[in-house]
Amino acid sequence: MKTWKRNLLAVPILVWIGLLVGIPMVLVVALSFLSRDHLGNIVYQFTLDNYRRVLDPIYLRVFLNSLLLALLTGLITLLVGYPVAYITSNLPPRRRALALGLIMLPFWISSLLRTYGWMILLGNAGLINNVLLALKIIDKPLPMMYKFSTSLVGTAYMLMPFMIVAVFNSVDKLDRSLLEASYDLGASKWKTFFHITVPLTLPGIAGGFTLVFIPALGLYFVSDLLGGGNTVFLGNLIHTMATRGRNRPLAAAFSMGMIALVLMVLSLYMKASKDKTGEGLFQ
């Protein structure tokens, strides 16, 4: 009886998710098997053509491109974010709260505006180039915009807080007596870090990686603005297909491909962290 009452509280959110996630999801699945007429209207006729097109070698390269971007984003955020999270969790409580607040602060500003900020920073007539030119370190602007690496930097920057918070939670729960035991047994700081801390915070690393990897697949405006449209990621492709390409069924089929990619990563996460329910992602 008691659990029944407690579960009752979950009903609104289940209805919410059912309506706003479940139904659109079913529609996308259905749409991916439909055809369209020459004006872009949906025709209710079953076809596998959309999926056949998704498996085209050129479009598979778009998948690989996105996969590469998301993997590298995960790696960069991990390399930069782990030390930040580690140091933050070892701060005295009040400083720790301040540090966490500062890490979350960028979220107060629209991500689109922050992307434009990067353009102001990296552009040919941007801040960095102007300073270097004024200091006579370079004699013509360094081209830093519109490259794969520019998209990568922007995406990694955008998703960094997810990694930091995930690792922070994990490091925070670390049993410090284990570290002391390791030192007592004569292990160096580094040895302790790699043999004790890292394995014990692996769930946090896997969680952070997953939380960064998934949105990295879809941040198409970052690669549009910072990448100058010079390369194509899944997000860009789906966006173009659904709008100017007037081909929503194909866009839906690509979305299914993206979902498959995400499910693959989630299953890897569950294996790595032994988290069977995915609960750890939301701690």
Binding site: H38, Y59, N230
Partner: protein, 350 residues
């Protein structure tokens, strides 16, 4: 607020709404088009003051939205402004009224160079309103510094000296169009041999492109990261205003044109009012003011003496008839889109 006053408020709102709906039959017309000041509010106000006809301005974000709104409720809209290809779709779907030119003496002011196009071959259903083209914006000084020869055609964009110095708008059909035109073919070619040729031609352009940007390509020329760009005329106008060194080039192979046109719903509730409005905005001095505010090319030939000097002297706004004669439309996009998108993705991944 207690319950009774809430009920009262709802009742008042409903009565007012009903009164508003009833009034629509007499002295009101409803326009639908893009928002902003595409139909300048001050011009609409003047029309309202002069005729006593109230004008409702329904804003819609795209041609496709306007199509679905009109086809769902054809008796709620009198006039729309849509782009050329949408005139064609609406005309074929049978939702447009044949315009009675005798009710619009000012129709004679329209430059015939803009009439009789594919989307309305007999000019029965539409009246051109705002015109734009795509063209090249070039920094000739910088092109010379790079050791390239002066740019007068699309083909000149392929010069190896321009490596990483060209910006273009980001759409497959338009960029394939540049490649096709540079080979002397028409837009939206479907012949596989010609498409394959254009594909190879396009791939050769990749090293020269620094950026694909649809919204503000002129910025890349202003900040110097590009020396030539393929963009819409209103963007080129902005670039030229920001830096006079950036000059328009009308490529000799020809350019795309976009004609936003007035059309009337077949079931328009107030056709007389709609004709009055169309005649009003085709008055030479009114058309000139609209052109000044919107910065689109006006099809109104008689408006020329009323145009401000900056506008009349700007070849991108006051398009010469020879330029217009060298333009063409993107016809039959639906037949090529899937293949062009595929080529375009391959092109970008190179």
């Amino acid at each position: 607020m207690n319950r009774r006053s809430a009920v009262l408020l709802v009742a008042v709102v409903l009565v007012l709404a009903a009164a508003g709906a009833a009034g629509a039959k007499e002295g009101e017309i409803t326009l639908m088009t893009w928002g902003g000041d595409f139909i300048p509010r001050e011009i609409i106000q003047e029309f309202e003051q002069e005729t006593g006809i109230r004008v409702h301005y329904k804003e819609a974000p795209s041609n496709e939205d306007m199509q679905s709104l009109l086809e769902a409720n054809p008796d709620q809209y009198d006039l729309l402004v849509v782009t050329d290809y949408m005139v064609d779709i609406l005309r074929q779907n049978g939702v447009l009224e044949v315009l009675d030119k005798t009710k619009m003496p000012n129709y004679a002011n329209i430059n015939p160079v803009y009439l009789g196009n594919y989307y309305d071959p007999t000019s029965e259903y539409s009246i051109p309103y705002a015109i734009s083209i795509s063209l090249l914006l070039v920094n000739h000084e910088e092109v010379e510094k790079l050791g390239a020869k002066p740019i007068t055609t699309y083909s000149d964009l392929w010069q190896p000296e321009l490596r990483g110095k060209v910006v273009v708008v980001d759409w497959s059909v338009e960029i394939m169009g540049v490649a096709l035109k540079s080979l002397g073919y028409e837009y939206n070619e479907t012949d596989p041999a010609k498409v394959a040729e254009a594909r190879d031609r396009l791939f050769a352009l990749k090293p020269n492109i620094v950026r694909f940007e649809t919204n503000t390509p002129e910025d890349s020329l202003i900040n110097g990261e590009a020396v030539a760009g393929f963009m819409y005329s209103n963007q080129a106008v902005k670039g030229n205003a920001a830096d006079p060194k950036l000059q328009p080039v009308f490529p000799t192979e020809g350019m795309p044109i976009f004609i936003d046109s007035w059309v009337m719903s077949k079931e328009a509730p107030n056709k007389d009012g709609a004709y009055k409005f169309l005649d009003f905005i085709m008055r030479p001095e009114i058309a000139a003011r609209i052109a000044d505010i919107t910065k689109f090319t006006t099809p109104n030939k008689a408006a020329e003496p009323f145009l401000p000097d900056y506008y009349r002297d700007n070849p991108m706004l006051n398009l010469a008839d020879e330029v217009v004669e060298n333009t063409s439309f993107y016809i039959g996009v639906d037949k090529v889109l899937v293949e062009y998108e595929h080529i375009y993705v391959e092109f970008k991944l190179r």
